[in-house]
Symmetry: C4
Subunit: 236 residues, 4 copies
């Protein structure tokens, strides 16, 4: 990996972590963002416990796919093993964001998937946003953070990670991903808003119905995939 490429990746990860704080998705140190360079298998991630306003490109941590530190003076985020499991399982993704954003976390705490009640959701997620199983005591006692990754991968099953770029970990919070770390941050923002909309929809009507598959597909596919016509041709 060239120095220039690494600098670009560091800049993207720095910006992504700061965006989490700026957009109100991560208070205190509740969240972290990483990105991977697939050619060299280098991962850049937030250091553990460092406030967002003290982050610099230099205090980010660079590791390989086994979590060995390649550069950086600080400990990486304690959630690094979760990120690594996801990078290994989902070859198409280039960035991951973990946040305890409010309403996404509320659904995770209630251990419920987020149903698709409207086109705002359908524009970004192809299906309900899944929630993992509760982790077994043996998974918690062992390699807890890596096991968090495994429970996510198991829950995703055969879903395409770019069509379902987010998941809720039961009793914990959300993980989002995308082709790069900036799009993972964007997904985390949208997830929070659709989680909040779904929360209020259920509160207004406990029996609210999800939208039809036809409407869900229409909205998802007019923005994504081969027949998309939303946005500008050079922007997709």
């Amino acid at each position: 990996m060239s120095d220039a490429k690494l600098e670009t990746l560091r800049a993207q990860v720095l910006d992504a972590n700061r965006e989490l704080a700026r957009r109100g998705l991560a208070q205190f140190t509740f969240g972290n963002a990483s990105a991977i360079d697939r050619a060299s298998s280098r991962v850049v991630i937030k250091p553990s416990g460092v406030p967002y306003d003290q982050l610099t490109a230099d205090n980010l941590v660079v590791t390989d796919l086994d979590g060995r530190i390649v550069a950086g003076e600080l400990r990486p985020s304690s959630d690094l093993p979760t990120h690594l499991v996801l990078y290994r399982a989902f070859a198409a993704i280039g960035g991951i964001v973990h946040t305890h954003s409010h309403y996404a976390t509320v659904w995770a705490q209630a251990r419920r998937e987020i149903p698709c009640f409207g086109t705002t959701h359908a524009d970004y997620f192809h299906g309900p946003v899944p929630v993992t199983d509760v982790m077994a005591e043996s998974d918690i006692g062992g390699e807890y953070e890596a096991n968090t990754g495994h429970v996510i991968v198991r829950c995703m099953g055969t879903r395409d990670p770019l069509r379902m770029p987010a998941i809720l970990v039961s009793g914990h919070a959300s993980f989002c991903w995308g082709k790069d770390v900036a799009s993972a941050v964007g997904t985390a923002s949208v997830l929070e808003e659709i989680a909040r909309m779904a929360y209020h929809t259920v509160a207004l009507d406990a029996d609210a119905e999800v939208i039809s598959q036809a409407l869900h597909d229409k909205h998802f596919l007019r923005k994504h995939g081969a027949t998309a016509y939303y946005g500008q041709p050079d922007r997709t």
Copy 2:
């Protein structure tokens, strides 16, 4: 249409779109505003998928009432056909705003009209804010965006669009309109607040009662119509 008139209309539409973002009514690219010049049947609308802070008067799109592009390099908002159906059906309106503002969208997702629980609502909307039927699969598979307009027009029925300047599209979000695009933006702001008030009223008391027709009429008519006495004579 003179160049000067077109410039004015572009400036109004630019400002309206930016206002949606400024007032928190449209996050990401969830929303669009348009205006029409009735003399020339020219419509100015937001380009599709362009962030609000990248909008300029020049990248707005100008079309005729059939959606043919008259000026502009970019694709128009994918919701253009909805706007056009509304401009054709409601001769008195000069501007349209579509947003996924939070609480209005929640009512749309719950597929419920917004009852008039207080004078804040009655000051702006003469009746409950209606919600459309769920769109049929055939409507979604066909000219979806134009059909969204048709379902709105059907739901409005014989209502006066200037006395009911907003509607909720089931499972989607709101459309608002007015004599010009600035008043459509104002209506979208008020709609969001009365949707939020109604939401909390129902949550506090599931059997909350609407206000009397006498009180509803009193408030609407002291602000609107021939006998209005609210505001200043030169401001109405």
Copy 3:
């Protein structure tokens, strides 16, 4: 009334109206503040329908206690007759604020008094915040705004207006008052927060219990009245 006194009163009313907007208590033109000079029976009030950022000391309206305009080019707030009824009924008050602040309005829409669930409420209001009867059709059809004042006065009954400086008008919103208009604004701010706290308390536990009269009295009286010991001696 001397010119200097009038200028002071105008400045206070201007500041109070602006504070309503600044503190988020009045959106759009949903709210107005007034003050009275008891010696001359002059009332200074917001003009009707003028946005808060266009208010100046000069465009405020000065009237007598019968609502006759003494100074000012603009129409007074359409709620002026309500203010006048209150000034006549409650001799101890010097300022009034009307707002459609969100949670206070929600309780008014649900037609429920705000129970005292905690010491935050007890620090400011001696008893639950009352809600008026629904206005009769004959009251709405007649002198509506004056009748709004009468329904408030009737509901207050023998309560001391300085110990219960706020009321909810059913299906409408709140009125607050105090020894001067600045304290009425302060009360409107606190009312909104205790309305919001009470809303969430009831939502968390539909059978939530009010605090004991002993605790209610303790908190109210340590801040107000002869034996108060909260705050600084020269600040009460």
Copy 4:
């Protein structure tokens, strides 16, 4: 206590009180922060009823552990006796914060402990956040503020105050503490967010289940105690 040490403590207490306002934890004058110098038993606390933006290092009040004023022209916070009881009972703490922050107060008003529904809570509090008994009328009529401290101490029982650094006083609000006043402010911020998350979790699912003790311990202990591996070694 040296002058330099006292100046440092004053600066910390000033900053802590201002932080309460800045972070939206204390509106109006609803809250106060104090710190203690254990060597000299000197307590620095906010003066009563003074707005946060008028606080200076000089108008803070310095007392001994019996509440006798050692320095300062103003009356101390009326809650001083509560702080003193806590400093005497919990030898490990160096700072205390009292706020009426919104959602923590809602739980206190509903008289319910905050269950641990997720890892956000477990990261900071080892167990549910307790709520005190309702105070007896005799406790209110007597030394009310000191008795508030006694009811807190009784409720804490054998809990380690650094593992459970917060409590809810029934019908009132929260008290938080920590090794110093800055960490007490941090705890008050986190408490508000976990109270808000738990509120929405219960609203989404009235039968929501708490996380397992294994997950609770894992998250608390990876951040706190001898085997902690979260954060940086030199950052605790």
